[in-house]
């Protein structure tokens, strides 16, 4: 209970990733959060396979989307013709 009270007023960093985190991934995320946001934060990890890869970060109302799914969407929008040509060639 004392531990829960300690984290009550701490800021939360939400991290959304595509795959369930392993021990190694957890440690890497933990050290990243500490270096970027300081020691006085709590992070929570949620898993959404639809982002395909990368991560989405949410902190104090700010939203940063570094997911693979978004990058692919952007690529399809900007380089639509080039991609269609390549796919036609492959076919």
């Amino acid at each position: 209970m004392t531990n829960l009270k300690k984290i009550k007023n701490k800021e939360t960093v939400s991290i959304v990733i595509a795959i369930p985190p392993t021990e190694k991934i957890n440690e890497e995320i933990s050290s990243f959060v500490r270096s970027e946001f300081g020691e006085d934060v709590v992070f929570e990890i949620s898993v959404k396979p639809e982002i395909l890869g990368g991560a989405i970060l949410i902190f104090e109302g700010y939203y940063r989307d570094y997911s693979l799914a978004t990058k692919l969407d952007e690529a399809f929008e900007t380089k639509r013709e080039e991609i269609s040509r390549v796919m036609d060639q492959e076919a």
Binding site: I58, G61, Y62, Y63, R64, D65, T70
Partner: protein, 491 residues
């Protein structure tokens, strides 16, 4: 959902719903959001920022669908804008500019405008000089209106206010004005009835009905008059005169009170919030007579307020009376006597309308008011049952005829220049014997001829506009009554 994620990426901000209180939702996050900004919830619902607290954003939702705690919220970086344009004419729409009946299609407009805009300053306004005719004798003669005037229509429920308004809108639309009827939180049958009335009067092509029913969310009902005024401003800027009717602002106040109390605003008088005056003032100040590119264009506004048992001293009633340029009072006592419209000319006021009238009509208005005051006093004497002198009898008889002449069906419109001529037949000594049935027949016949025959219309208009007083009109009528379509004085 794609649009929602796109907004999250574009704005780089996100909110999480922490608390839901009916139509108001409190969200954390959204660090750079601005007041009145539009937001989108995860389920696609729209909301508007109501206020900014220290840690939370207070959002007013525009849907009856409940928002769950923990839902995500995205900014749009835009304030609420609605589509405006001629494509809206002939339609019944909601405050967002979409067809009220979801099965009907509407053409897209090319322009959108913000619902909340500041009222133009004094340099953009012009003095009200042009008259605004309602086609209702008692109003045009005794409580005349001007284009750009804000005239309150006030009275108890079921006293004929809406009939009068529909009649006025139909007449204005037939004259070529753009008419906008804002139905605020009424039942769906009333909305349908209004639409059918305008279609039957063949004026719907110049009318837009902005409607919300009582089952719509309070936030959407709150927006109705502002959306209507935004559409009116578009047509004003296009150089067209607009009539806007807000039916009714007392309901609007009640819905805003509900929103404020749910939003934990401190209740003031009658539990209304402290900014109640501002909510209506910022709306009504957007009406008036303005300088536009093509000269001059007016937004004439008829806000409606309901009273309870004739109490004109209520909070909302006195607020709106102070913001407007006069009021037309619908008296329930007059209504119960069977007179329609049940307008009390003694308790009605017009602060601006008289300066738009020609001298002859101003003198008629003065004479009528003086005479009817005298008639009212005489009626009190009659109650005592004492014997009446000849002069008292004449006053009472004439007064009764005037009141009967002012009686007008909801679907009958009398051009304002015909009214003084008819009054001359009633007033003139030479026509004293004419029965009221004959006068009414004459009125209807003259109205028909005025509307169909342009020469006859010119004759009537010339007499009324070129005369300097009522006595001059009386002389014209006395000299040649036949020109008005009457064979002789007594037939």
């Amino acid at each position: 959902m794609d649009d929602f994620n796109k907004l999250l990426r574009e704005t780089g901000e996100i909110g999480i719903v922490r608390e839901v209180a009916g139509i108001i939702v409190y969200a954390s996050g959204l660090p750079e959001i601005t007041p009145d900004e539009l937001v989108v919830f995860e389920n696609g619902n729209l909301g508007q920022v109501f206020s900014l607290k220290e840690d939370l954003v207070e959002i007013l939702t525009f849907s009856n669908n409940p928002i769950k705690v923990g839902s995500k919220v995205a900014r749009t970086t835009k304030v609420l804008e609605i589509p405006v344009g001629r494509q809206l004419l002939g339609n019944v729409i909601d405050p967002f500019g979409k067809a009220y009946d979801a099965t009907k299609r509407m053409r897209k407009t090319s322009e959108t405008r913000s619902v909340e805009t500041a009222a133009p300053g004094v340099m953009k306004r012009k003095t009200i000089r042009r008259k605004f005719e309602t086609g209702v004798s008692i109003v045009d003669l005794m409580v005349p209106l001007g284009r750009g005037q804000r005239q309150l229509v006030i009275g108890d429920r079921k006293t004929g206010k809406t009939n009068f308004l529909l009649q006025t809108i139909a007449y204005a639309a037939a004259q070529g004005d753009i008419c906008i009827y804002a139905v605020i939180g009424k039942n769906k049958m009333d909305i349908k009835r209004a639409e059918e009335y305008f279609i039957a009067a063949q004026v719907m092509q110049n009318v837009i009905i902005v409607a919300t029913s009582s089952e719509d969310p309070s936030a959407v009902i709150y927006l109705t008059p502002y959306s209507a005024m935004t559409i009116a401003e578009y047509f004003r800027d296009a150089g067209l005169d607009v009539l806007i009717v807000l039916d009714d602002l007392s309901s609007h106040a009640k819905f805003y009170r509900e929103i404020s109390l749910i939003g934990k605003r401190f209740p003031g008088r009658d539990s209304y919030p402290g900014d109640m005056f501002h909510i209506h003032a910022k709306l009504l100040e957007r009406a008036g007579n303005f300088k536009v590119e093509k000269g001059e264009a007016a937004i004439t506004c008829l806000p409606v307020v309901e009273t309870l048992q004739g109490d004109l001293a209520g909070y909302i009633q006195t607020n709106i009376m102070s913001m407007t340029d006069g009021h037309i009072y619908f008296d329930s006592n007059i209504f119960s006597q069977g007179r329609r419209p049940s307008i009390n000319p003694f308790l009605s006021v017009t602060r601006v309308g008289r300066q738009t009238q020609p001298d002859s009509k101003r003198s008629i208005s003065r004479e009528l008011l003086t005479f009817l005051t005298l008639f009212d006093k005489m009626q009190n004497i009659v109650h005592f049952g004492s014997e009446l002198t000849e002069s008292v009898r004449v006053i009472i008889e004439t007064g009764n005829k005037i009141l009967q002449l002012f009686d007008q069906d909801a679907n009958k419109i009398i051009p304002s220049n015909v009214q003084p001529i008819i009054l001359s037949f009633l007033w003139g000594q030479d026509f004293r014997g004419m029965e009221i049935a004959k006068l009414i027949y004459l009125r209807d016949k003259m109205t028909e001829m005025y509307q169909k025959d342009s020469n006859y219309q010119k004759l009537i208009d010339d007499i009324v506009l070129k005369s300097n007083s009522f006595n001059e009109i009386l002389s014209h009528v006395k000299e040649n009554p036949k020109q008005f379509g009457i064979d002789n004085a007594q037939n």
